[in-house]
Symmetry: C2
Subunit: 409 residues, 2 copies
């Protein structure tokens, strides 16, 4: 067994490294990554901008008009879709309107089941019947109003525009790895913070219409990921196996059309949502198949009464870039190691503001990719040791932001 070396045996000069050279580009805003683009939205937005331009409409004036004036002003000159688009844009603009009354300020802590008397409104990334819905319901039941967001961005947006108090997004599967996109979005949304973590065992169920027997089945369908988790059992069953892009949607289809020869591998909640029976639970091959979800909230995260109690283990997630690149990760980790703060996860995403560093060497130009590192640390951000370590980390970082400090059980 490896032994943890006590702090005192590391040299003092590492603990006290206090070398600062921050670039002026110390921005916390990291651009959106690839899959975010939705062409329809772009097309529509571009068309509308052209229309406004053609009509010589002063775009800068719009925010200064009242909603009613605005509606009348635009409606008098443009098509209905332009009106709707502009109203949506203004409504979603931060600060355009006073905060919604249901989100209490820091001086009025919530004592309601959720936030200010209404059930917790939880946006989850996915569709009805997905594992993410299951996580949302498990985290906030019995009093919660969970609603789906098909695109990951939409779950973040629901927090930003305050139509949700919390968002649940998938972060990782223990067998398949990280859902990178949500970390990019977290880096991009300064106002959104990690409010908690949920690690839930995957329970792949064999779902069929009520009354269907195993012997009726000719085909099993699911998402490729779920099928691969059940590979051995599927081989034993020796039925046709088909991939579908969305298991929950397939469950709904099977139910609505009463297809009795087809089973879907899906969640318990899909069975409940679509009136299917679970012929078999825990159909996956491997134990140790877990999903990790992040619970997100708008900064500063306000505790709802249904949130996990602060008596559990605390975790802090910090994102940072390194002035000297990856080779300085050792130094970054040292700040935690030297204070006996356990690092439980080391993630990285491209540093989209500054993706590549080129260095001339005698053998030619070497290119190094630049990353934002994301560390999970055990402890509360207010713990003196962790606080100190984060200050020192900041000194070797071009960018450094605490993404959340939360209790998890």
């Amino acid at each position: 067994m490896a032994i943890r070396i006590p702090v005192s045996s590391y040299p003092h000069n590492i603990i006290n490294t206090n070398i600062r050279s921050r670039s002026s580009s110390c921005s916390s805003d990291v651009k959106s990554s690839a899959s975010s683009i939705r062409s329809k939205a772009i097309t529509s937005s571009l068309k509308q901008q052209r229309k406004l331009k053609e009509k010589n409409f002063d775009l800068d004036l719009l925010p200064h008009l009242s909603p009613l004036q605005l509606t009348e002003e635009i409606a008098s000159s443009f098509d209905l879709d332009v009106v709707v688009h502009e109203l949506e844009r203004l409504f979603n603009q931060p600060g355009a309107y006073p905060p919604h009354p249901y989100l209490p300020g820091p001086s009025s802590p919530s004592t309601s089941p959720g936030f200010s008397g209404h059930p917790v409104r939880v946006a989850y990334q996915g569709v009805r019947g997905s594992y993410c819905q299951e996580a949302a319901v498990k985290a906030f039941s019995p009093v919660c109003n969970a609603f789906p967001c098909i695109h990951m961005e939409d779950a973040f947006q629901a927090l930003e525009d305050r139509t949700a108090d919390r968002a649940i997004v998938p972060a990782e599967n223990s067998i398949d790895g990280t859902i990178d996109r949500n970390f990019d979005l977290l880096l991009r949304h300064d106002n959104v913070e990690i409010a908690g973590e949920l690690i839930l065992p995957v329970n792949h169920c064999l779902l069929a219409v009520p009354g269907a027997c195993r012997s009726d089945l000719k085909r099993i369908v699911s998402h490729p990921q779920a099928l691969s988790h059940c590979k051995t059992k599927l081989e034993l069953m020796a039925l046709d196996v088909d991939e579908v892009p969305n298991a929950a949607e397939a469950a709904r289809f099977v139910s609505e059309n009463g297809i009795s020869d087809t089973a879907v591998i899906g969640s318990v909640i899909a069975a409940k949502e679509f009136g299917l029976q679970a012929i078999e639970q825990n159909f996956q091959d491997q134990i140790g198949n877990f999903n990790r979800f992040l619970q997100l909230g708008l900064r500063p995260v306000l505790p709802g009464r249904r949130d996990k109690s602060p008596s559990g283990t605390w975790k802090t997630t910090v994102a940072f870039s390194l002035e000297k690149g990856v080779s300085d990760l050792f130094r970054a980790l040292w700040h935690f190691e030297s204070r006996n703060i356990a690092v439980t996860r080391v993630e990285h995403r491209p540093n989209q503001l500054n993706p590549v560093r080129a260095v001339k060497k005698e053998t030619g130009t070497i290119r190094y990719f630049e990353y934002i590192f994301i560390l999970d640390l055990e402890g509360k951000v207010s713990d003196p040791g962790l606080k100190e370590a984060l200050i020192q980390l900041d000194e070797i970082s071009g960018f450094c932001r605490v993404l959340g400090s939360y209790s998890c059980t």
Copy 2:
């Protein structure tokens, strides 16, 4: 600027950690991850196994028959598709037939343009006209025979069954991040080794049929990733933008059907392959947009004359798990830091053989996900310092394997 602290100032006791407690599950075989499954193949394979079973055919006997006997034997009893499937299976089985004569043994180093007189056969992951084809041609031109493999697995398989001398697979984009799947495959294929690295600037071209002008264009199509890389320029053009699952396929379609109002964002090689013109090159918004490709070979990697000369910088890639989990990554990095060996990349993939560790604490059971870490190190595996560091790394690892040591310019 941060200062690199010299080795001598770190305490000796860290350098000499020599604590060994290896689990018996020190297997280098890591299971295939989710997206690998292809249901059609499973279905077909299961059906064939059933057919063979129903006919009481002795499956174990098959490999002992000559190819001719085998064909006759199976064909006499089964459908044609079973014959084809079984022949394919046997042909692909390692060791079923003597190695192909064109792959020289270690005692007969190649002096030909590629391997033993034939052009280098390069399998690339993707379709004709993809960036991966561009990388394959750039790495091995003018004498290479590059062929596409739609599925990532197929590029690995082409090496294993020796239908390819090299495979080129995408590893990372500087803006979008890692192609995780190829690292899982690399961990799973013990026989496959990294033979080189190619970092190429992305050159997104605006491709249209010959003679088409910008003013003819009404629509631009590409893969979501390429579209997001060109977001700002697309907004300026104010045309319809549509996502397609494959840009190279779209380029072929536009060309074959002479669609003059649609441009495709794609590679230079797509223009060449499908007879399109590049209306604009480097259409992407951001400088610093690079793709990193891995060049793979069958272990031991035999140098072809077209491979990069060994005068460039050397890199070694090592994969390992940590007995004590992520919190020991600091210790792992120390072995390199203490020898002034630069770590240029720190990747992780799920440890699929042992994905989760549950630890009982006073606050309840805490679950930690377990990872295989993959480090890129500057240096040759035969350098005495790196060799020593790898031995020490192995001592704190449940699994440790050098994935390749290669020159890169």
